[in-house]
């Protein structure tokens, strides 16, 4: 059944929506290429009169944003790898290993998920301080090395692994760790991939905690470096836009490349069993 009017209207709304969704990002790129001062002109311009890479050059030379880029990469990668390991171990244990108090412990953890993280921030900072971990990458990575949500997601997925596989391996005399490595981990690959992508992106974008923990500018991750730049260079619109582009581009590209896994990952967490 063709309904031309409704179809046209629907696509018109979609197009307007898409324009609204994309416009700020397009302007961000456009302004980063404008000559100095042009982004602050009246009436406001959308496209540069002539494109220049001057601000990007300045970001990498005078302002050393390349270092922040590297920091973000190190922190995001380390957090993702460690948290995948810790979360998957715990998630598998809750799903497939039998031990007294298992379900009560898991329920307790679930209840704790409702508690908002900011409550923990202050004492956590004081704790890191007594451990000497302030201003270190470890101070950023360790608190995120395991999350209740991550354990939950893996546990949900792991419950789908047939018990027979595991029991058969046990009967053959395989140790628990061997079973985990040789059987469980490969089967968990889909959820590990999605959780990995989700974790990487979330860590890359994380702002509050690195802001608090990292005092040395050489260790700043991109969002923190960017916020620090705003403090000093709020006047330099084009420069700030270049910094934003640099921060956003990697995650956007990663997302575009791994869309399917990322979207699967978040639906996994949201749709009820």
């Amino acid at each position: 059944m063709r309904r031309p009017a409704a179809t046209f209207l629907l696509h018109l709304v979609l197009l307007v929506g898409a324009a609204a969704a994309l416009a700020p990002l397009v302007w961000m790129v456009s302004a980063s290429l404008m000559p100095t001062g042009e982004a602050n002109s009246f009436p406001p311009r959308f496209f540069p009169s002539r494109a220049t890479l001057l601000h990007y050059r300045e970001l990498f030379t005078r302002l050393n944003l390349g270092r922040a880029f590297a920091s973000s990469f190190i922190v995001a990668t380390a957090t993702t790898l460690v948290s995948l390991l810790f979360n998957s171990m715990a998630g598998y244990a809750f799903a497939k290993l039998r031990f007294p108090g298992r379900d009560r412990l898991f329920g307790g953890l679930l209840a704790a998920m409702v508690i908002p993280a900011p409550i923990a921030m202050l004492p956590l900072f004081l704790l890191l301080r007594s451990l000497g971990l302030v201003n270190s990458y470890a101070g950023v990575v360790l608190p995120a090395a395991a999350t209740i949500l991550g354990v939950f997601l893996i546990r949900q997925f792991a419950r789908g692994i047939p018990d027979d596989f595991i029991d058969a391996a046990r009967l053959e005399g395989a140790g628990e760790l061997q079973i985990y490595r040789k059987i469980v981990l490969p089967l968990l690959r889909p959820v590990l991939t999605t959780l990995g992508v989700v974790t990487f992106l979330a860590t890359w974008n994380d702002f509050i905690w690195p802001l608090i923990v990292l005092t040395d500018e050489r260790r700043y991750t991109l969002p923190v470096a960017l916020a620090s730049l705003v403090g000093e260079h709020v006047q330099d619109t084009e420069l700030m836009m270049a910094g934003s582009v640099l921060t956003v581009m990697p995650v956007l590209l990663l997302f575009l490349g791994l869309q399917k896994q990322y979207i699967e990952g978040i639906t996994l967490g949201g749709v009820k069993e």
Partner: protein, 431 residues
């Protein structure tokens, strides 16, 4: 099992290595935190310092002013302070009071080049707390009036105004010359320095009873606040915080701002950001005084000092940096790069400073300065005062109500200080 354990150990080792990623050097590495523009510029002086001190490697980190206070405190709490840092000298009581800074009396007495006599007295005192020296003044900050001589001349003021009433008159007349979105004067609402200075000019002590109560609802501050708030209410200043402004320098050049009460770093900024042709558009003058008071009106004795942190492991080398930056020749060069005024008296005789007409206003002003109350809570109090004035500025609250509220809040903020003073009667006060 063993392999997994080994892998975990390797991962942990990698993390640990990343955490302690400081390169091993045979030179001593000294870390200095510079703030704002000074932080950017002092990097240019590093090669010269390292030439004169071959065993020391100086690493400068730049921190924006807007987050500097926060970052310094966080670093102290997190036990991650640098060796030395630039501190706004209104912060010295706070950082000394919490035990973050190293007293410098002993190292001063042994120093050949740095002594208290080389500095303006009012400036040297800002680095004292509780009877000890906690910093060496680096540069002097005081606020003067930057203005557009052409716009003021057209408004009938061939010279900058010298009294409050003249000032107000100039503002009103300039307003008529500007487009509707222009304003005669820029007073960023988030900056506490302006209302505090006006308060000092009217003779307000700002804090009372040995720095344990607010004096903001007293008659002197009230008179100053009426003037300050009145300027906004008449539409003579835009109700914006500094970050909302966009590019203040551009606006000044375009004539949308004709006057700005700000400090010496802007000597360098105006020179850097405006074109050669636009340099004739700006001039400086000492502050106007309240009617009946001698000119110039009092300004505040600000600026930055260099302080060494108690947690530093290289205090001797850090002191060498201070000695270097206090040399009159280096101070003069620093002035040339930033426009910041040297704290060392000798540097003022340098021709680059003595012959600069735009710096003359500062030379005059620096003889009429007063210090802010020297209590550790001052930064918190001052920022709160500026924030709390906003409803009065916008006409949502009467000024007496606002000032009474400020004093109530300040009283609460100082409660801990009152308790501590009552416990240790020997503790010296702020004023």
């Amino acid at each position: 099992m063993a392999r997994l354990g080994a892998q975990l150990a390797a991962a942990a080792g990698l993390l640990l290595a990343l955490a302690c990623a400081d390169a091993r050097e045979d030179r001593v590495t000294v870390r200095l935190w510079g703030l704002g523009r000074e932080g950017e510029v002092v990097r240019d002086l590093v090669p010269e310092f390292e030439r004169e001190n071959p065993g020391v490697h100086l690493v400068v980190q730049q921190i924006p002013w807007t987050s500097a206070h926060e970052k310094l405190l966080t670093a102290f709490v997190g036990r991650a302070t640098p060796d030395l840092a630039q501190l706004g000298n209104t912060w010295i009581p706070e950082f000394a009071g919490i035990g973050a800074l190293e007293p410098l009396d002993e190292i001063l007495s042994r120093s050949a080049s740095v002594s208290s006599r080389g500095f303006f007295r009012g400036v040297w005192e800002t680095s004292l707390y509780d009877g000890a020296v906690y910093g060496v003044p680096w540069y002097v900050d005081t606020r003067v009036l930057f203005y557009r001589p052409d716009l003021l001349a057209r408004a009938g003021f061939p010279e900058a105004p010298r009294t409050w009433s003249g000032w107000l008159d100039a503002m009103r007349k300039v307003k008529r010359l500007q487009p509707s979105f222009g304003h005669p004067i820029l007073l960023p609402t988030n900056e506490w320095e302006q209302p505090a200075i006006l308060g000092l000019q009217r003779g307000s002590p700002l804090l009372a009873e040995d720095g344990t109560r607010g004096a903001f609802s007293g008659p002197e501050f009230r008179a100053a606040a009426e003037f300050y708030v009145g300027v906004f209410r008449e539409g003579l200043a835009p109700i914006v915080s500094y970050s909302q402004l966009g590019n203040a320098y551009q606006e000044f050049a375009r004539g949308n701002i004709a006057m700005w009460m700000t400090g010496p770093w802007n000597l360098g900024e105006f020179r850097r950001r405006l074109s050669a042709a636009e340099q004739a558009l700006w001039m400086t003058a000492p502050l106007p005084a309240p009617d009946g008071s001698p000119w110039p009106g009092v300004s505040f004795s600000g600026g930055s000092s260099l302080a060494v942190f108690r947690g530093s492991k290289h205090k001797t080398e850090a002191w060498k940096v201070i000695e270097f930056l206090s040399k009159p020749a280096v101070q003069a060069r620093f002035y040339a790069l930033t426009g910041d005024l040297p704290a060392s008296r000798a540097a003022w005789d340098d021709p680059s400073l003595a012959g600069d007409p735009k710096a003359r206003a500062f030379r005059t002003q620096v003889e009429s300065v007063a210090a802010m109350p020297r209590v550790p809570e001052w930064e918190q109090i001052a920022q709160h005062m500026a924030e709390r004035l906003e409803p009065a500025i916008r006409g949502r609250e009467s000024l007496p109500e606002t000032l009474a509220a400020i004093d109530r809040d300040v009283g609460r903020m100082l409660e801990k200080r009152r308790w501590m003073l009552s416990r240790r009667p020997g503790e010296k006060s702020g004023r």
